[in-house]
Amino acid sequence: MSNLSDPVYQQLLGGIFAALALGTLVGQILKRRARTTAGRETVANMNQRINAWWVMCVVFAVAVVTGGIGSIVLFALLSFLALREFITLVDSGRADHRALLIAFFIALPAQYVLVGVGWYGLFSILIPVYAFLLIPAVLAIIGETQDFLQRTATIQWGLAICVYAISHAPALLLLDVPRYSGREALLLLFLVLVVQLSDVLQYVFGKLFGRHRIAPGVSPNKTWEGFVGGVTCATIIGTALYWATPFAPLEAAAMSLLIALAGFLGGLVMAAIKRDRGVKDYGALIPGHGGVLDRIDSLTFAAPVFFHVTRFFFQ
């Protein structure tokens, strides 16, 4: 629990839990005031989401204050659950079994071990080079050629999104930012805070003011009003947190905007996959939210982009 003695962590985590307490309070007030059936359902779902947020925030806070190993274990677990939801949703068959074993039990753990030992070179190519080539090779050796390209691409995509992309979140701890040594976990906290706030605020603005849908065929809940309001507010909050990051205020603003935009695109793409498969959620593990992949869909795009932009400009 080394990081907990750092006042910056105390303030950020204190702020998160204060905001949650406020959300819980508002949820309870709305529950008393809801009159229509539809209104009551929306409020009940919102309160269910808030309750789940408490659990998620506690788990994440514990991971962050324990520093490296806690974050790696948490995100490895999230990757596992996300990949599991992803593969369950697609049409994998008997001929894919061995390739899936490699994905779940070799590629995934290896990727997080590489984060743990800080081997950046192999971390950045293990999945895009070696897993990318090994998966089709294994499928070819097994010999089933029906839908070969689609089956290969599906497993590769599952690994890229659920494992490779997500692993860039804990990999932020590997970055060596000048005059920021020992505080790298704050980058992870910043990323997750901005991307999730952006999600939540897009939801809130969408519920309050949403009129014009961005991509009605993909997601009925994504509106221009929600998008602009959520991204703007998340950027403002992210900018206000510049003191906890290695960034100057304007840099923090640009980074927050980048995170929110990448997160939005991640959510949109992952929604398109759900639509294609004819489901509303990836799973039912998190009450009110759906599956793990429903909660971290925006992170899959935001994490690698934030990682590499930070690495390019600030390391």
Binding site: R84, H97, F104, G278, V279
Partner: protein, 206 residues
Amino acid sequence: MIASAIAGFARLVTGAVAVWLVAPRGEAVRVYFANHSSHADFATIWAALPSDQRARTRPVAAADYWNASALRRYLAARVFHAVLIDRAGGGEAAIEQMVAVLRGGDSLIIFPEGTRGDGTVVAPFRSGLYHLAVAVPEAELIPVRLVNLNRVLPKGEAIPVPVIARLTFGQPVALEPGESKASLLERARAAVVALDEGVRPEGTLP
């Protein structure tokens, strides 16, 4: 304790989401009958039962497979309390064994297809289910539909892939007065097949 640990492990690996369209505890003994596509099938059903029911529900399995090693013998006898059937011994002896278990007050898990399929179709049922229904009319015949188990652990594979499995316990199928063997078996099979349709995970679009 080993039994609950194994049940917990099975639930973890298969991530099984159980849907009950019938009360998990019945008044009478039950015969749970399911489609069969994986070695993990009966452990999944068994693990999804309430723990008090689990202790009183015995899977019917092949003696040659479960007697093949000390570990399997131990699991079959001590953990699952399996009813081991001699596949070479003929149907009548097997039915007698199962009827004795039901009359003794324990429930059964059976796979009427007789062998594991590839998970795409449910094969025609063998007649054992009918003979049980005739011999123990008070037993409830509960259809169970397993989905994705063939993807968790397909035939011929040893290590499971953690695909999320789904199982649905349906309403009992009862033998009508004077109903023929073929009719009951086809209705029972149709009941298992039907549980896959219209039962999709919560939140699924139509």
